[in-house]
Symmetry: C2
Subunit: 272 residues, 2 copies
Amino acid sequence: MRKPIGVIDSGVGGLTVARELMRQLPKERFIYLGDTQRCPYGPRPEEEVREFTWQMVNYLLDKDIKMLVIACNTATAYTLEELQNQLSIPVIGVIEPGARAAIKVSQNKRIGVIGTEGTISSKAYPNALRSIDASIRINDLACPPFVPMVEDGILAGPMAEGVVARTLQPLKEMNHIDTLILGCTHYPLIRQLVQKEMGDHIQVISSGEETAREASLILAYQKALNTSNEEPVHEFYTTGDIEKFRVVANSWFEDPVRILELVELEGTRSSA
Amino acid sequence: MRKPIGVIDSGVGGLTVARELMRQLPKERFIYLGDTQRCPYGPRPEEEVREFTWQMVNYLLDKDIKMLVIACNTATAYTLEELQNQLSIPVIGVIEPGARAAIKVSQNKRIGVIGTEGTISSKAYPNALRSIDASIRINDLACPPFVPMVEDGILAGPMAEGVVARTLQPLKEMNHIDTLILGCTHYPLIRQLVQKEMGDHIQVISSGEETAREASLILAYQKALNTSNEEPVHEFYTTGDIEKFRVVANSWFEDPVRILELVELEGTRSSA
């Protein structure tokens, strides 16, 4: 099936998921929409995140997507079930793939989760983990400084190391976990710092890789994989600054982004 | 949904898959049927494998299973599509999960596959891999001595090392792969030997772990996970020697097998 797959995110963090999707599903065509102007979603009230998410979803449904990937943990926490119930296409979030992968690798059933305030307070990860295995013990921690730091491009160096060390301190003090879920799509960009701070004995799970794997399975299961061998041309849309988006996107993908356009959703300004 | 999940295999190899299923889906109840008396399936003609597999499937359908896992690569290669088309419950094989996991981890897109003669000559792995990514290069190799060796309990020592070294020689000579799929559920039992022979730079994929992960996703996607917290009691059935089966099963599972019975299928002898 040659229809595209839609990917939505609050900003550029979901590009880590998109990159993995493109790598693991090289025959598929993707349409990415990042609500960069209103990023981050993490501190926003649930109702607002739901409204913004539906605006993005409706924009992509008009493009006749065959599957929707919510490449944003906060949006997944608040809207996944609703979207799965109301859309006729498969909807994949980033939370359950991360949870299943953590259960696969954890030996001692003690799993850590870090994410935005919204994701952590929603308890979406603990719910997903315990719905599969009630005996799992979870330490979760909101890390509010991480998204602004990553959005500012501070990905290494003493300052980034200091922020990561201070923020993760409470999690280290309860250091019995053997697996840590990066419950925010921005965090893979500081994965090395997190790994170094937590120690080599901790297995760090990146939701992006896992989500791509599950999207691949659901497409195959639905017999909706694209079987044509034509090179796909992906499309990118942002509600924010196009050139800033291009710089980030081009630093993450092997090939430069070809189609990139500004999109106005209800409430976003095209002059942004 | 409290209905059980059915798992079939040509013998005891599929217990490696069952163990992972039980670990990753601890709330689910499993019914395992191993056609130990007629194992191995690898060298048998396709028509015979199809007939034996259908006999096992029909036995489990009578037990009202909600999902079927074909924990045998040879049976998956010959019957997966047919079973998926004809049964109304989800059917998971071991080949596609292994293929998707290999695509996820391979960096150079050169993937090795080892399995029985039946699995390798069916080209099921190359087909699964290339249907996702046409640019992947595959080196596959049939390893006929491995299943009888494992069934005889020879899992370590100089003899096992020698057999593994000699058998894998052709694959080592074309040593550009970075990922190797264990395309037979017996092989995880000699995984260390294979890893040592191939070298630490090769990522070895075990289909059992990957299949459990995908079964977990499909159950969640179908909203068919068991939400009760009652301790499940699994059932095991074999067409062959019960006590031999019990020894192997008890060496693989933490808890001793509680329900284990002899089953007679058309053509198997209950006196076996």
